[in-house]
Symmetry: C2
Subunit: 213 residues, 2 copies
């Protein structure tokens, strides 16, 4: 929860309504889906913005300033969703996490947004702000994966694997699948690798008695 608190605190210094924030973030999402990271400009975001243009220019000096806030906003939403979903049965929760990252169906906007996400990630070595937010994002996923595996091991539903190492391995295969699928516009790879990951979880984590195959 401390991360969410920190995100809220850093969400811009000039006050604005939640509704304005939502509208700005939605316009940013649309612009990124449409143009990708290098060709997204403040003007292309303004073009997607259905409120006063001046409002957006008032809040942000440049594109990277706005995209940093956008990453914070996504991180906050991701954390809220994950906190809501993390209390159930460990196996179901783990499958739910895989489902969130590699959904069975992915529409054009979702795929294009993932492409923009990897473009932004690739900029982390050149920007401390991006680097820190990507790091928080990855740490959040890593710690949730570790927690759910830990809970499953403690309850006896999972084999006694090393939760952190196993989480790290699953984390890499999720990121690798997302990156490959987004880069090459390959939804079939998402579906194929989603099955591999679920099968790995069944075979490697589930105790024999609860294994589905």
């Amino acid at each position: 929860m401390y991360l969410l608190h920190r995100v809220r605190l850093s969400m811009g210094t000039r006050s604005r309504s939640d509704e304005t924030t939502e509208a700005i973030m939605h316009a940013t999402y649309r612009a990124l889906c449409e143009h990708g990271y290098p060709d997204t400009t403040i003007s292309s975001i303004v073009a997607e913005f259905d409120k006063s243009k001046g409002l957006l220019y008032y809040h942000y000096e440049d594109k990277d300033d706005l995209l940093t806030d956008f990453l914070r906003y996504l991180l906050e939403r991701f954390e809220t969703k994950i906190n809501e979903e993390m209390t159930g049965d460990p196996y179901e929760t783990l499958v739910g996490l895989v489902d969130r990252i590699l959904p069975e169906q992915l529409d054009d906007d979702q795929l294009r947004f993932r492409q923009a996400f990897f473009e932004i990630r690739s900029q982390a070595p050149h920007s401390t702000a991006y680097h820190d937010l990507i790091e928080q994002n990855d740490q959040l996923l890593q710690s949730e994966l570790t927690n759910v595996i830990e809970r499953g091991v403690e309850s006896g539903q999972f084999r006694s694997v090393d939760p952190e190492r196993t989480a790290d391995f699953i984390h890499s295969v999720l990121i690798g699948t997302m990156e490959r699928g987004a880069t090459l516009d390959d939804r079939e790879l998402y579906r194929r690798n989603r099955q591999h990951v679920l099968r790995y979880i069944d075979r490697h984590l589930l105790e024999e008695s609860s294994a589905t195959e």
Copy 2:
């Protein structure tokens, strides 16, 4: 081999010596390590070039033209290396492939080059030339992983897994580890995930009698 042939055929239309090609490619590598993809320009590559500047301007119209040739050059080298290494013992060959992609030690230039590589990969959705070369690169790795696993299954050294599905899973974990480690400048993650992948290969692929643990 047909891929290598195609790469050679498409390596520029204006004739130049191998030595010049090597020098141009080396300068491109240096510029990418130093500036990353967005800030690499033809001038920044020229600054790393120790031959006549005009030579470089003569061969290339813009940065993406040059980077496309650079990707072709890397692909050709990757294919030559892989062809040399793919004939030995399946287990050793597979470990060798992991070693090539997640080496135990990674110097600063190697890490920076991987960062630039993921920046270029992220541009694939915006450029047919990048898309096709990244696709050829991934298909090459995918087919070599599949072949070596197939050989291991046929010789009885590996369990009778589905070679293509298993290759796809290992491929994703390798790309995911490379991406995470490069994006967050995290060499420790490379070392950790390298161990996970090797352990996965031992546990999941090796027949009980030949397993190392």
